[in-house]
């Protein structure tokens, strides 16, 4: 009796092990399949299927890379952020609101960059009720956190390259990939940081 049940257990354990064991990594199969099946369209070339360093680290570690890996890559990303040469980080918040509203840019149906898609994921101004919730609310951003130069730099830098602050953030790297111009990023920074912006009322 005991023997029999032990035997059953052993078989069950072996079966479970065979199911659970060496989880084959299907990522190479997936990439090979995609490379076979995708084609360039408009501005979206097939080179976009290739991972860069940040993407590779995040893909490999399911968006949770070891601290050392994250630190090293974040430092590199931070070093790539070009702050405006004139030292001014605040543009026109009104234009920033328009950029935040537009969900276009960098798709095969676009000519290049366009908007910031900000409202897709964030609550920002008080008048727009159609806002996404993928990212945190930015309503009253500076009113709650302060208007200082360091916070301005952080906002500009975060828009330029969110991965410099959190390696596997879901936020795009707008400046890094050229989706937004310096002027546009200044306008968006103003939307969040200008004391006159409706965001801070």
């Amino acid at each position: 009796m005991r023997l029999a049940s032990a035997g059953v257990l052993a078989i069950a354990a072996a079966f479970l092990a065979s199911c659970a064991t060496p989880q084959r990594d299907y990522r190479p199969d997936a990439l090979a399949m995609m490379k076979r099946d995708f084609h360039a369209r408009g501005i979206a070339g097939v080179d976009r299927l290739n991972e860069d360093g940040v993407q590779a680290a995040c893909n490999k570690h399911a968006d949770d890379p070891p601290q050392a890996v994250a630190d090293k890559l974040q430092k590199e990303q931070l070093a790539g952020i070009n702050l405006p040469a004139d030292g001014k980080l605040l543009g026109d918040w009104k234009s920033g609101e328009k950029i935040a509203q537009s969900g276009r840019g960098m798709m095969w149906s676009d000519k290049g960059g366009d908007g910031g898609s900000c409202y897709n994921c964030h609550q920002i101004g008080p008048r727009e009720s159609s806002f996404g919730t993928v990212g945190p609310s930015l309503y009253q951003f500076a009113k709650l956190r302060g208007y200082g130069a360091d916070i301005q730099r952080y906002v500009y830098g975060k828009i330029y390259n969110a991965k410099a602050y959190s390696l596997c953030s879901q936020m795009p790297r707008f400046g890094h990939v050229g989706a937004l111009t310096e002027g546009q990023m200044k306008d968006l920074t103003a939307l969040l940081m200008d004391p006159a912006s409706p965001v801070n009322q």
Binding site: G103, S109, D110, S117, Y119, N120, S129, S130
Partner: protein, 154 residues
């Protein structure tokens, strides 16, 4: 005059009413007058109502408008309208913020219940006004529909 009574026009309603009646008489077999170009091309609800001869309207709680507070998509907004006003003959719909607010009239005087379900385009958040004709009088009710932006906007 009752304070609840809202009158729409300064003058000319008698004429409009007469015109509507005249047209209806000319088209036996069909309850509605000829497709009212003037009303459909009016750029405001008040002008459309004037063209339809809706001289004065009374607010009524007996008109039930079931429409979303927030429409998922302004291209297709479902609206159920039920009139509990005795003797209801027609139900008209005005989407006040649309470029051409008058959306249509539904004649229920010849054997239909005072109910209609429609799906309409609403360009931006707008009051949807319903006017019910009953016993030669016009009753009205309004429902605000908010139109949102869904999807990624791309």
């Amino acid at each position: 005059m009752q304070s609840t009574r809202r009158n729409l026009l300064k003058a000319g309603w008698g004429l409009g009413l007469l015109a509507a009646f005249g047209a209806a008489l000319l088209k036996p077999g069909r309850a509605l007058a000829a497709w009212n170009k003037g009303a459909f091309e009016a750029k405001s609800a008040i002008d459309a109502m004037r063209a339809l001869g809706m001289s004065s309207t009374e607010e009524s709680k007996d008109i039930v408008i079931r429409a979303p507070d927030i429409a998922e998509n302004g291209a297709v907004v479902p609206i159920d309208i039920t009139s509990n006003i005795p003797g209801t003959t027609a139900i008209s719909v005005f989407i006040e913020k649309n470029p051409f607010p008058y959306a249509g009239t539904f004649d229920v005087s010849q054997g239909a219940m005072p109910f209609v379900h429609i799906r309409v385009k609403i360009g931006e958040s707008s009051p949807v006004r319903v006017v019910v004709a009953a016993g030669g009088r016009y009753f009205t009710s309004v429902k605000e529909v908010k139109v949102t932006i869904g999807g990624c906007g791309g």
